[in-house]
């Protein structure tokens, strides 16, 4: 009975979403206050019904109701309770429900935190979000009903994909979706502004905090996914340029561009059309990501069940939402770029370059991701675009970005003398180059990539510090907005430093080890001390003992395992990772080689890999810090 109620809740929510999409819009058009006022109650009640549907599905999982097909496919009575709960979003239907739930939460949040905004604007923004909600709810109800019955009921469920039985699964999808869906707010503000025909600083000021929150969540979500893949899934790397990763990275890049262009539009009135376009693009790319993951058009490690009807449905939805908004943009975008004039060298110009580089990076990734599809459609054969393409081009695009970042904050709006800023930063550039040189000399054999990493990290950090120093010396202090920017730019420094150290400095070795034998790797000495038999709760394992020393001091004792599970005798490799701020050590047991206790071992040293995720965390913190800026709290003038 309950599952039917769940579907009913979704149908109610769909009706409410249609009302939310029409009534307030009509009200705003006619200036009817009563109709506009329906937006908030509709937003609340939509959230209530979707929340109820979600609770019902979660309940079906927790009580192992295998008469629901989706539960039977993704759960099992033996699954621990927490994974029964996270299994709700373990596959297509449930994760879509989570998506819809998060969307309705964002809608409710906009309804709650927009009391000071003019009623017609709020009505239009909520109505646009209502239409997005209609699309997703219809998708859910008509092609992906999570409450479909399985009759007769299964006695036992098929169990959740073991890869997903992991703490990472608890937080990674919700955070990622919060980021993805959050761009719907900036999108709705943009569409509302286009409908209203009023794109001014006020409008951007209202939508900026929402963009920041969404982008911050997306940053954490992506970083967490990367960390999870590295740490728990044992994939060894931290980024694979997989289509699904790319699908989340494109809106992130465009979102980063949007943050900067919104700041420009708010303060100077410039780039109004561009800001609108980016707001549309960030959300469109989120939708495109959903399409790529769920239509089965591209093959990926993350692939959801592919179903052509679903693919077609999302494509039509995509065409309506994106095509419609771009059409609106084409007709309604402000004809003059407006804003205060600015000289060839000014902060506006630098931000424009920033936007250009980030947008190019996103376009480059889009081309690389979709190229196999294009090649197939044109019958050029199956071609896959690998990490070398992405690495090279992304590196080329990020190089000028890294060089220019410190110039942004110390360059004045409107007009600046290039020589002044160059003089200000020259000593710090010198120091950064020195750091790179020192790193080069200090690395074994003069590793260029890690040296560039050191120089880039130092340059970003020192250049950003120069801006803080300038503010403090003038006794001005930092506004929350500036503090956020500083944090995020420092995060960028940590990130680039970590990436280049890891990519350039990681070393790995496959060795055949006999007990007592030592192997030198990157200044560390790995001594294999043999293996012992251990009995786990449901497995037998060979546990290796590897003592790692550095200049004679023991830094880690590692215990990689090779487990044979009692059920079916499957064999699993449990690598051991010893993490530290400046390096990760990684040891995995391969195969036993002989009767004398010899084993094949795989050893890695990955320098500074944790800085990658630390950097991402700083960027997200920076984005959140900006919210506390007084400008965003002041009532509209």
């Amino acid at each position: 009975m309950l599952p039917e109620l769940g579907l009913l809740c979704l149908l109610f929510a769909l009706v409410l979403a249609v009302l939310l999409g029409t009534l307030p819009l009509l009200g705003a058009h006619r200036g009817n206050v009563a109709l506009m006022a329906t937006a908030r109650p509709l937003a609340w009640s939509q959230l209530a019904f979707i929340g109820m549907a979600f609770a019902i599905l979660a309940n079906a999982f927790l009580t192992s109701d295998f008469s629901v097909a989706y539960v039977a496919q993704n759960s099992n009575t033996l699954l621990p309770a927490i994974y029964k709960f996270t299994a709700v979003w373990g596959a297509h239907e449930g994760s879509l429900l989570l998506w819809v739930l998060i969307l309705s939460l964002w809608i409710a949040a906009v309804a709650a935190f927009s009391r000071r905004l003019p009623a017609p604007l709020v009505a239009r923004v909520l109505a646009v979000m209502g239409w997005v909600s209609v699309g997703f709810l219809a998708f859910l109800v008509f092609t992906s009903n999570p409450f479909a019955r399985l009759l007769p009921a299964a006695l036992e469920g098929r169990d959740l994909n073991p890869l997903l039985q992991d703490p990472g699964m608890i937080v990674h999808p919700p955070l990622l979706y919060t980021g993805y869906v959050g761009f719907a707010v900036a999108f709705a503000f943009a569409i509302a502004a286009l409908i209203e025909g009023r794109v001014d600083a006020q409008w951007v000021r209202w939508s900026r905090p929402w963009t920041n929150v969404a982008w911050g969540f997306l940053t954490i979500g992506i970083a967490l996914g990367s960390f999870w893949a590295y740490y728990e899934l044992g994939w060894g790397g931290w980024w694979f340029w997989d289509p699904v990763e790319n699908a989340s990275f494109m809106p992130w890049l465009v979102g980063a561009a949007l943050l900067h262009s919104q700041a420009t539009t708010e303060k100077r009135g410039s780039f109004r059309g561009w800001t609108l376009l980016l707001a549309i693009a960030a959300f469109s790319l989120s939708l495109l990501g959903t399409f790529l993951v769920r239509s089965g058009v591209l093959t990926s490690v993350h692939a959801f069940a592919s179903d052509p009807t679903r693919g077609l449905f999302i494509l039509v939805f995509l065409a309506i939402v994106i095509g419609g908004s771009l059409l609106l943009f084409a007709f309604r975008a402000p004809s003059d770029e407006g804003g205060k004039p600015f000289a060839a060298y000014s902060r506006e110009t630098l931000l424009l370059v920033n936007n250009l580089l980030l947008a190019c990076a996103a376009a480059m990734i889009a081309i690389g991701t979709l190229y196999p599809l294009l090649a197939e459609a044109l019958d050029l054969g199956k071609i896959s675009v690998g990490p070398p393409y992405f690495r090279l081009l992304f590196g080329l695009l990020m190089l000028p970005l890294v060089l220019l970042v410190p110039f942004g904050p110390i360059t004045r709006w409107q007009r600046e003398q290039a020589s002044v800023t160059v003089r200000m930063l020259a000593p710090w550039a010198g120091l950064a180059l020195l750091a790179g040189g020192a790193w080069w000399a200090g690395s074994a054999g003069g590793n260029l990539q890690t040296a560039i990493g050191a120089a880039a990290g130092a340059w970003l950090l020192l250049g950003t510090a120069r801006f803080v120093f300038q503010r403090l010396r003038a006794g001005q202090g930092l506004t929350a907005e500036m503090a956020g920017m500083t944090l995020a730019h420092c995060g960028l420094a940590l990130f680039f430093f970590g990436v280049l150290q890891t990519e350039g400095g990681s070393v790995e070795k496959d060795v055949a080890a006999t007990p007592g034998q030592s192997f030198a790797l990157h200044g560390y000495d790995f001594r294999f001390e043999g293996t012992e038999r251990v009995h786990g709760p449901n497995y037998e394992a060979d546990r290796g003992r590897v003592v790692v020393t550095h200049h004679g001091d023991v830094v880690a004792t590692m215990a990689p395992e090779k487990r044979a599970y009692a059920s079916g005798g499957q064999v699993m490799t449990e690598a051991d990772i010893d993490g530290a701020l400046h390096r990760d050590l990684y040891v995995a047991l391969g195969e036993p080689l002989d009767a004398k206790g010899g084993w094949a071992l795989r050893l890695y040293v990955k320098p500074y890999i944790r800085w990658i995720w630390l950097g991402a965390l700083f960027m997200a913190l920076g984005a959140f810090t900006v919210l506390f800026d007084r400008r965003f709290r002041r009532p509209p003038a």
Binding site: Q73, A91, R158, D159, N161, P162, L163, G273, L277, I280, A281, S284, F291, S295, G296, V297, L298, T299, V301, A303, F304, A305, S306, P308, G311, L312, L315, L318, A319, I322, G323, L326, L327, F329, A330, A333, S335, L370, L373, L374, E376, A377, K382, Y565, S567, G568, G569, Q570, V571, M572, T573, E591
Partner: protein, 180 residues
């Protein structure tokens, strides 16, 4: 003015491409794309056997009896859906069922088989997907019926279900048996 239509035009081009993708994809499910391999010898290959270190199997080893080569992977969700059908087919003894573990980590693949049950006589392991190019494997699941002389007789892209087994696979099998 025309400048502002560029984003729309770019998106229209993208939408056409994605539509082509969906079409190609749905083509796969009805197996509208006939494999050029049908009626031709199966490609030569030598692949390790999953979970049996040291054992390799090549094309010649499989001659003598028809077999169904079923492409799967632990990462493939549709393979889970298909699994009961493959298991039933293997149990029925109508044809040898040989797995083809495509682009998979051996440890993941073995866990998958241990969890769902292993219907296959054995599974060839193509971790990198190199041999798959010769077979023209698009993804998983896919199934190839190869006769006793090593000629590919039938191919299906997408998960098998009972209707396809009885409506398509079994007639081809019957014709093979009749031809003997």
């Amino acid at each position: 003015m025309i400048r502002r239509f560029w984003p729309l035009l770019a998106f229209a081009a993208l939408a056409v491409l994605l539509y082509a993708g969906v079409r190609m994809n749905s083509g796969r499910d009805t197996s509208a794309i006939a494999s050029p391999l049908i009626g031709k010898p199966a490609p030569a290959f030598t692949l390790p056997v999953l979970g049996q270190p040291g054992r390799v199997v090549s094309r010649a080893d499989l001659l003598g009896k028809p077999y169904l080569l079923n492409v799967w992977g632990s990462w493939c969700v549709n393979c889970r859906d298909e699994h009961p059908v493959i298991s039933a087919l293997a149990r029925s003894g109508r044809v040898r069922v040989i797995g083809y573990d495509y682009k998979d980590e051996p440890a993941d693949a073995q866990r998958w088989l241990a969890q769902l049950g292993d219907p296959y006589e054995f599974s060839l392991a193509d971790e990198e997907g190199r041999v798959a190019l010769d077979w023209g494997i698009y993804g998983a699941p896919e199934s190839y019926l190869v006769d006793a002389r090593g000629i590919v007789r039938w191919k299906f892209v997408g998960p098998l279900d009972d209707a396809i087994v009885s409506g398509q696979l079994e007639p081809v099998l019957a014709s093979l048996e009749a031809g003997k």
